[in-house]
Symmetry: C2
Subunit: 135 residues, 2 copies
Amino acid sequence: MQNKDLSLLKELGLKLTPQRLAIIEYLKGNKNHPSAEEIYNALKDRFPSMSFATVYNTLEVLVEKGLIKELSIDSSKKRFDPFTHPHHHFICKACGKIVDVEAPFEVFVPESLRDFQVEDFKVVFTGVCHECKKE
Amino acid sequence: MQNKDLSLLKELGLKLTPQRLAIIEYLKGNKNHPSAEEIYNALKDRFPSMSFATVYNTLEVLVEKGLIKELSIDSSKKRFDPFTHPHHHFICKACGKIVDVEAPFEVFVPESLRDFQVEDFKVVFTGVCHECKKE
DNA sequence: CTAATTGCAAAAATTTTGCAGGACT
DNA sequence: AGTCCTGCAAAATTTTTGCAATTAG
């Protein structure tokens, strides 16, 4: 999610409404992998009339245009990630925090996938984070 | 999900009702990573009175006891996997199929996680499967 | 001005829960 | 017999949808 993305949206004929700009602003640089509800709650003070439809609609557009990614990490709800470059995640089983893992390591693509066209892979680490380890 | 698991369930004071046995039987060796609804639909002919509550309750028990795993691969619904040994997955973006990847490869644990207690990792490959590649 | 977007409300989809009756050990 | 489990129905959660009113470009 970059600043230049704003002009990209415009070019595509999409309108930069205040609500959209607020959602984009909220997501920009956000490392908390928020859900739709978290985004809604964070913005409803500034936009008391905003509806979930707008949040979901905007998220859908941003995902479609590749400006954010939808995560399937939390099986109870969708989460969204403004960092679209290849990266991985660590989930703390104590506090539930999801941490970005930037290392661009390689994974051996196993023999069983030799006939498949493997385009990407994502690694999810689990364990206990530094803060929770102390307790 | 193994045969010996049945006696394990009994030992834990859990009852082997016909519905539970049917769900266990349906899951055993099943490589389709079914959702609760798929399990329900597959069994409702044999158990016309069976309710979702029973399916969800049984799945919860099986997950709790470690006999199956809940997957967070599909962001629209929970899926369940009777294979509890460490393994990974490939998702075909054309047909949506989820394929088990058995290779016990190692992943480099990145420096940024040095203060974390990393206990496990799962890899999700994406791409196009052999069948879909032909088309 | 016009097409895109919002907000509302209803609905769909998935999962959870309370409880009375029924079944397993 | 006693505890666990089932089925039902209602509710909670998350997400989607239709549509009239509004707004950005």
